[in-house]
């Protein structure tokens, strides 16, 4: 279980990394925390000719306010995100979701940007990004641009990142008042990839009706799946128990097209979408009502 031979580079600046990426093109892979790429290489399922190690890029490791928003550098370790008071205050959904990622040893190495760019449909961070309408800031050798998350995840392990682009920064917008959140997942063992994971963000208006609902699931499609139908059903409505249950039911029936694998059939995953969809929506609504401004 040893990787095939590869060339290895460890750039010290983002510019240098972008230069190497442009030079080596599609034969190159970026190494962030390595928690997915390294096992894949050891199984020889991935055999990149060139590995560009981003771990010396200190400029991509930061958590800082940006006006009311929050900016997190792509190479920030998941463990740093988990322990950040600023994240807990400004991005409580992210704070709640990060402990579900693997185990502490994995989060010590794994980075926020690495997980987002890898776009594993079972991963937690893409779900959170989609639920929180993140903006993903990317660069190539010449330009920088920011991609709204709704356009970022394009398919199975696929994103809108160009072949010469690197994800450098994650921007989470400020949370409006009367907004609640929740994250939950069902996994075989703590730290496993979720059979189904779910994030909800609900904003209520003054009359207690849903103004904005984001309900997102993992492990039920090619990437994080935004439950449009569930949100449509709830928006403008009082989110009582029956409405929440009906919305999660709509998500299970109409928003997701889950796969079957050795751990869970599609039917079981639909059931889990219904169950934890209900649970995260209910908790988000409760937090929104309790005036959690976050």
């Amino acid at each position: 279980m040893k990787p095939a031979p590869f060339e290895y580079y460890r750039p010290e600046t983002v510019d240098e990394a972008l230069g190497l990426l442009a030079e080596h093109g599609s034969g190159a892979k970026l190494l962030a925390g390595g928690q997915s790429l390294v096992p894949t290489m050891n199984f020889r399922l991935a055999q990149p000719a060139v590995l560009i190690d981003l771990n010396a890029l200190a400029e991509l490791e930061h958590i800082e306010p940006d006006g009311d928003a929050l900016r997190i550098g792509a190479m920030t370790r998941q463990r740093q995100v988990e322990r950040s008071a600023l994240v807990a205050e400004r991005a409580p959904l992210l704070h709640e979701a990060v402990p579900f990622i693997g185990h502490p040893q994995i989060r010590n190495r794994g980075t926020i940007g690495g997980s987002i760019a890898h776009a594993d449909p079972a991963a937690e961070l893409p779900v959170v990004m989609l639920a929180r309408r993140a903006r993903l800031h990317v660069r190539n050798r010449r330009d920088a641009r920011s991609i709204p998350v709704d356009e970022f995840f394009t398919g199975l392990f696929a994103t809108a990142l160009g072949p010469e682009e690197i994800l450098v920064d994650i921007e989470l917008p400020a949370v409006p008042p009367s907004t609640g959140w929740a994250f939950d997942e069902v996994a075989r063992r703590h730290g496993d990839f979720a059979l189904v994971g779910a994030a909800a963000v609900v904003t209520l208006d003054d009359s207690g009706r849903c103004r904005d609902v984001r309900l997102v699931f993992s492990s039920v499609g090619d990437g994080p799946v935004l439950a449009h139908e569930a949100a449509r059903q709830l928006e403008g409505e009082i989110p009582d128990d029956a409405a929440v249950r009906a919305a999660a039911g709509a998500a299970a029936e109409r928003d997701v097209d889950p796969p079957s694998d050795i751990h869970a059939s599609a039917a079981y995953r639909r059931q889990l979408v219904r169950v934890i969809g209900t649970r995260v929506l209910a908790r988000a609504v409760e937090r929104a009502r309790n005036g959690s401004v976050s």
Binding site: A4, F43, R188, S265, V275
Partner: protein, 782 residues
């Protein structure tokens, strides 16, 4: 025997100072000058004819030293030995087929080795695997146990013309009469599947040929270094004294490391001699899933005949057993299943029949429990269903059928895996069951807690089951005990050690006889240069058999000590006692002599030695029990099921266990806790998923789920000590016990929690997905 107590105490482990500081030697810690590394090309197909292997490109790769295929082995290419001959049972059919070093004609399971690459590093060796061009003609695979016996099924071993590896019938009494007389017949089909041993350390072999000394040294993760030594000497044409096999610290075995011989164990020593270079191969986890033996499915069609008041009149069981591609272990597992099924119960009539089936899957050999789980599951589930139909409490139906303490020795008539009749040596089953009932709070749970929680919408259930385990079988083990001039004691025995605590428990056995502090007793296991007679660590027999040999050797040394001390002190032996590494006069303790000083006297440099005496304070002894001793116990657990997600949480787990006399409760409890973890994995997490081409779909720890520390509760334990009359220590084995009844207890508990769904669990392993289906199907049929 001495004034201090060494038995029954929680001594910390002698081996831990080395293990915890990273100073213990494991096979992969062996680094030798000029060492080369080995990787194996393994078959992608489960069943395929081998047409050609072209290794030219691999040989040409820089850093590659040699590439071998079956043809390169010449006469050294031989199928492995049949390790366990079938017992002498009338009408028995047994078609032997044992594993080969490298495949010659066809692959019979995915992962079977085709070629061996030797290179300067493991990296280069693995790169070279890709250079080898293999032409194979895939054949239809035999995967399903029932389809394997259909007339048009592909045949795995052509010489037998069938996939039937064995057919065995054993009987006690007259089941047909029991059937006729029964008030109730409970008849069901059961599926019980198991998985890998999952040892923390995978297998590994390092082999070094010293041409000057003409000596071969092999470091091997084996549980049986002495048989490996003897086999290698025979195969390589060496004297046994020219081969030294060392099983150093080994990170878990659980049975999978006593399959002999694995291809790698045959090939590395041969190639090391041929190349005159030390070689290392360390199995990786992916290889382990294909190349290391495992346990798997049995399908039982079983019926229980009962009287109206719930007494067992007889059992009828017919089952299929998957042995995988080969059957080097004979009938050990299915015979364990049929013998252990009877449990602690009085079963006057028993008809048991099995067919062993070859399939295109990794070879099946014993893994912790070794088929006992399957039998226990069938019997305990039948009793549960019978209790329900008869309206008898599930604990009560068990009580009514337990053998009483007057029933021993109890002869069950049929033959056990060691070819001896299945005779229980001793037991005391009712107190164990009552203690478990008490510890889990059965009555209160059933009467108050469960109804209260159910009313609150929670799904909690309790499982409680009994089991027995045949342990500590022969043939024999040996030990040598030596008192050195420093007064320290060395103990050497041939069994390998894989974490059980042998260095501590054997020291306790010797200390009990010699009264020497435990930290002055140094145990060596698993090095054929230190001790070269014996078989190995398996069948929960280490302490029973090797421990008894340690005891016998210590008794012989004690005799020598007392004789010498009697001369030295001028006092009769009867007036002497051993205490704290000294011999002293009972009535005058200030008159004493150190054991070290006696050791010096026993090995004089000058002067005359009495004819007929041996030098040194040393003795070697052997112990072989007539037959195995029967341990027993009761497991009880409380679970809560989230009926919406079908996830199960184990809230409490109680084990009342009887392994005879307990030498070190901490070690016994450690074995039970670990066994329960294995059992929980078997019940709810682990499953080898093969597709219909014989491909294993989950050959990694990402998809093959071992329970982790957060999934296994701390087991609450109590001990019953019913000594075995079959060995001088009165002990019974404990290594496998924790893993055996877990599936049966789990099924009962989950079924109880889901009582409103009125479903029957007749299979293990379960999973949330499977439970979801069962709940859904139960709802649909209502």
């Amino acid at each position: 025997m001495t004034s201090r107590r060494f038995f029954g105490e929680r001594f910390t482990r002698n081996e831990d100072a080395r293990l915890l500081r990273g100073l213990a030697l494991f096979v992969d810690d062996v680094h030798l000058d000029g060492m080369l590394h080995v990787a194996f090309l393994r078959s992608d197909y489960a069943h395929a004819r081998l047409i050609s292997v072209d290794t030219a490109a691999a040989r040409a790769r820089p850093g590659v030293v040699a590439v071998y295929t079956a043809d390169d082995l010449g006469a050294y290419w031989q199928p492995g030995p049949l390790l366990v001959a079938p017992p002498p049972i009338d009408g028995l059919v047994f078609n032997a087929a044992t594993q080969v070093p490298l495949i010659k004609d066809k692959a019979r399971h995915a992962g079977e080795p085709i070629a061996m690459v030797v290179a300067e590093s493991r990296y280069v060796a693995e790169d070279a695997l890709v250079d080898i061009v293999v032409d194979m003609d895939p054949l239809d695979a035999v995967v399903d146990l029932e389809a394997a016996l259909e007339p048009d099924a592909p045949v795995i071993h052509e010489q037998h013309g069938t996939n039937l590896a064995s057919h065995v019938v054993q009987q006690k009494g007259d089941y047909q009469r029991a059937h006729r007389e029964a008030a109730l017949i409970v008849k069901r089909r059961f599926h019980y599947d198991r998985g890998v041993a999952g040892a923390l350390e995978n297998r590994g072999v390092v082999a070094q040929w010293d041409a000057r000394c003409e000596e071969l040294t092999v470091w091997d993760t084996t549980q049986a270094p002495i048989p490996i030594r003897s086999g290698l000497a025979r195969m390589l044409g060496l004297l046994e004294s020219q081969v030294r096999v060392i099983a150093p610290f080994v990170g878990g075995g659980f049975g999978s490391k006593i399959m002999m011989f694995y291809p790698e164990e045959v090939l590395l020593p041969w190639a090391a001699m041929r190349l005159n270079r030390p070689l290392k191969w360390i199995e990786d986890r992916q290889e382990n899933f294909y190349a290391t033996t495992q346990e798997r499915l049995q399908i039982h069609d079983a019926e229980l005949a009962l009287s109206e008041d719930g007494h067992i009149l007889g059992v009828h069981d017919v089952f299929l057993h998957d042995t995988g591609a080969y059957n080097p272990y004979g009938l050990t597992i299915p015979i364990n299943s049929q013998c252990t099924l009877l449990g602690p119960y009085d079963v006057p009539n028993y008809y048991t029949e099995f067919r062993v089936i070859f399939t295109n899957k990794t070879t099946v050999t014993p893994v912790r429990g070794a088929g006992r789980q399957h039998g226990v599951f069938v019997m305990e589930r039948l009793l549960d269903f019978a209790a329900k139909e008869l309206g008898i409490d599930r604990v009560e139906i068990r009580k009514r059928n337990l053998l009483s303490s007057d029933d021993f020795p109890h002869n069950h008539v049929i033959l056990f895996q060691d070819s001896a009749p299945l005779v229980y040596d001793s037991g005391n089953y009712l107190p164990a069951l009552e203690k478990a009932v008490d510890l889990i709070g059965y009555d209160e749970f059933v009467r108050e807690e469960q109804p209260r929680l159910r009313a609150a919408g929670r799904h909690v259930g309790l499982g409680i089951v009994s089991y027995i385990e045949g342990t500590g079988i022969g043939p024999y083990e040996g030990a040598r005990v030596t008192v050195e001039p420093s007064g320290q004691v060395r103990v050497a025995t041939g069994v390998g050690t894989q974490g059980q605590g042998h260095y501590t428990v054997f020291a306790q056995v010797v200390a009990e006889v010699l009264d020497v502090d435990l930290d002055r007793i140094h145990v060596t296991t698993g090095d054929t240069r230190e001790f070269h007679w014996g078989t190995g660590t398996f069948a929960s027999r280490g302490v029973v058999v090797a421990g008894s040999a340690c005891h016998e050797a210590a008794v012989a040394v004690r005799k020598k000590i007392l004789g010498l001390a009697s001369d030295a002190l001028g006092v009769a032996e009867n007036d002497l006692e051993l205490e704290g590494g000294r011999v002293r006069v009972k009535d005058a303790p200030e008159r004493a002599v150190d054991l070290g000083e006696l050791a010096v006297r026993a090995n004089p440099l000058r002067g005359a030695v009495t004819p007929g005496t041996e030098p040194g304070l040393e003795a070697t002894a052997y112990f072989g029990p007539d037959r195995g001793s029967t341990a027993s116990g009761v497991h009880a657990m409380i679970v809560e099921v989230d009926r919406e997600t079908a996830m199960v949480e184990i809230k409490r787990y109680v084990v009342v266990h009887d392994s005879g006399r307990v030498i070190n409760p901490m070690l016994v409890e450690g074995q039970i806790q670990g066994g329960v973890a294995h059992g929980i994995g078997n019940a709810f997490y682990e499953q080898l998923v093969y597709d219909d081409t014989g491909q294993l779909l989950n050959a990694s720890f990402m998809d093959y789920l071992l329970p982790t520390a957060t999934d296994v509760p701390r087991v609450e334990m109590a001990h019953i000590e019913t000594p075995s009359p079959l060995n001088p220590l009165g002990v019974k084995g404990v290594g496998e016990a924790g893993a055996i009844p877990t599936g049966a207890a789990f099924a009962q508990a989950v079924e109880d929690a889901l009582a409103e769904d009125d479903l029957e669990i007749r299979e293990i392993p379960l999973s949330p997905n499977r439970l979801f289906e069962m709940i859904r199907d139960a709802r649909a049929t209502r």
